[in-house]
């Protein structure tokens, strides 16, 4: 196995890790605030189509800044759709599981409708912003060869960790997730904290989705996130609601998905390519089983996860 092959494989792994890491980090914050938003897949698709649409529309006139605007559009699209979910579960106390599912279905439909005018169009991929010598150099590309979104995702891991564990706002957010009634009784606005967390989760999922339409395939296709939003959800449980483990888990899934790509591309494999394609999903189930066994003892899940907030007064 040549060094070039290993480098190429590693770059693929990083690329496949990024979207689920972004969406997973967002969902982790949402769940830490005590809300379970199952609509990640829908928010990712909305982000994917918003990011692509804006970049395509303005990419010709403003090639330098259009992709950045695309990322903002993706974040805004994801956050707005998340707030629709937030309104239902926070104001009307609707069932979080069912409302999240509705968001997933809604996002799939809405993204198809918005995207129908963009099918078949292609944009310049949102690639490395470093000088070509670094971005495409044989060895330097391992560090400099990625889309800015990759560095953003990696930077968000310690940032989210720091926010949750070292800041006052993070402490309040966790308090709301652990015991909403107590947090309410000492004067914190449970709804506001949860709205903010839900919007953040939506924005991160939207950016994660945009990674598909702006970096991986630079085009729009219906249902192009192919279930990665659900993997991101599983990833949060798998990580035991810890940021470090989320990164490790996302990387692990990135490796699995890369193996699938290579098995398909080489056409040579001991097992049918479908086995590789099913592997990330099967491994998620296996991982959840192994984790659940240990986590139930520790009880690391936020205590109020998925429960409606019903103050008596």
């Amino acid at each position: 196995m040549s060094i070039d092959f290993i480098i190429a494989a590693f770059i693929t792994v990083v690329g496949l890790t990024t979207p689920i890491l972004l969406a997973g980090l967002g969902e982790l914050v949402v769940e830490k605030s005590g809300v379970l938003n199952l609509g990640v897949e829908g928010m990712m698709l909305i982000g994917a189509v918003c990011g692509f649409a804006l970049t395509y529309t303005y990419g010709f006139d403003y090639p330098g800044i259009a992709p950045w605007g695309g990322i903002l559009a993706a974040a805004a699209g994801g956050a707005l759709s998340a707030l629709l979910f937030g309104f239902l579960v926070l104001e009307l106390n609707s069932n979080q599981v069912a409302t999240g599912l509705a968001l997933a279905i809604f996002g799939t439909g809405l993204s198809s409708l918005i995207g129908q005018g963009f099918t078949g169009m292609i944009i310049t991929p949102f690639g490395s912003i470093f000088p070509d010598a670094l971005a495409t150099g044989r060895y330097t590309q391992v560090i400099f060869g990625y889309s800015p979104l990759v560095y953003f995702a990696l930077a968000m891991v310690p940032a989210v960790h720091w926010f949750l564990n070292r800041t006052r706002a993070g402490l309040i957010l966790r308090a709301v997730g652990e015991n909403d009634l107590s947090a309410h009784s000492i004067g914190y606005s449970v709804k506001q904290v949860r709205y903010a967390a839900i919007a953040f989760g939506g924005a991160m999922a939207g950016i994660g989705g945009a990674y598909f339409s702006m970096v991986i395939t630079p085009m729009w296709a219906e249902k192009m996130t192919a279930g990665r939003g659900w993997i991101a959800l599983a990833l949060v449980v798998f990580a035991g609601w810890r940021t470090g483990r989320l990164l490790a888990g996302a990387f692990f899934f990135g490796v699995l998905m890369t193996l699938e790509l290579y098995a398909k591309a080489s056409g040579f494999s001991l097992v049918p390519s479908e086995v590789w394609a099913a592997m990330p999903y099967l491994m998620t189930v296996v991982a959840l089983t192994l984790i659940s066994r240990r986590e139930t003892a520790g009880g690391n899940a936020p205590a109020c996860l998925g429960k409606p907030f019903l103050p008596t007064a």
């Binding site: 199952l38 629709l84 239902l88 009307l92 106390n93 609707s94 069932n95 599981v97 069912a98 409302t99 599912l101 509705a102 968001l103 279905i105 809604f106 799939t108 439909g109 809405l110 198809s112 409708l113 129908q116 219906e222 279930g227 659900w230 959800l233 599983a234 449980v237 049918p272 479908e274 086995v275 394609a277 099913a278 999903y281 099967l282 998620t284 189930v285 959840l288 089983t289 659940s292 066994r293 139930t296």
Partner: protein, 363 residues
Amino acid sequence: MRIKLEKRPAPSVAMMVLTPVLSVLLTMLIGVIVFDFLGVDGFGAVRDIFLTPILASYKWQDVAVKAAPLVIIALGLSVGNRAQVWNIGAEGQYIIGALFAAGVGIAAGDLGGPFVVLAMVLAGILGGALWAAVPALLKTRWDVNEILSSLMLTYVAGQVLGYLVGGPWKDPNGRNFPATAPLHDNQVLPIVFPGTTVHLGVIVALILPFAFWWLMARSMFGFQVRVVGAAPQAARHGGFDTKQTIWLALVISGAMAGLAGAFEFTGALHAINLGFPSGYGFTAIIVSFLGRLNPIGCLIAGVVLAITYVGGQVAQTTVHIPSSTAGIFQAMMLFLILASDIFIRYRIRFVSRRPQAAAVAGE
């Protein structure tokens, strides 16, 4: 004036029945406005998606055939949802059910007739139940979240289907197209009304809701499911086995999804290709909620959702919107029905800020 929510002494039955109807009507209204805003013929889209399938009698058979799997799957899911067990992998159980039926059909070779068809349908039920038994086992043994495990297995089921129809079960006369060979005439589910596409599965889908109604409303099992879902602690005190309820909820919903898959294969499509998974398993979740988890409600809601499916295809050709647009309407209905849940337990009171002023105005 301001709006105040006031808790009702008892859940309102009227609201329980009324809100799904209002949700559908409101969805149509919002649809007209939003689609016009998006530059699409909103009135045309809503007319074609919701009304054309009802007004055009030649579309009725399509609606009936599409409603059958939705109703059958939703009946099973409602049992789980009542017990707060969330099976969202019905799509996978539906696929595996169809594959089990196909396996029996292939094993039977040239044999056919009622018993072979019956065996295929029963195999479908078994396949769906087995696929749903995996999340049940994981949930009861290791407390694995059934939402995620059942959904992940849906993707696995899709790959199993892809492998079988592209490999061992590929039709040798199919010009290398990944699909099973069409069923022999003696292995298909009988058509009930000659000249239509309405197969026996549609009739079963009409009868099953009443069987489920009896099961949920009149049997001990139904009572157990409702208690476990509504008050888990009371259920434990009352001696109801939570694990047993999880098992039954998942296996019953899996069996129903498998049955729907077997019917769709033997009754409607007669062959399985990569397009077989059409999202019925996910749409059935909407049916279940729109039907208020009530078996008879599921029957009505299944027909409504089937109308939007058929109508979505009509609108695709008439007002040129993607057929997936029907999905937006379906999700909107679910949003609205979930949002309106609050009216069952609360009533809205318009309270005046200045009571005196209101009294004066009243005179």
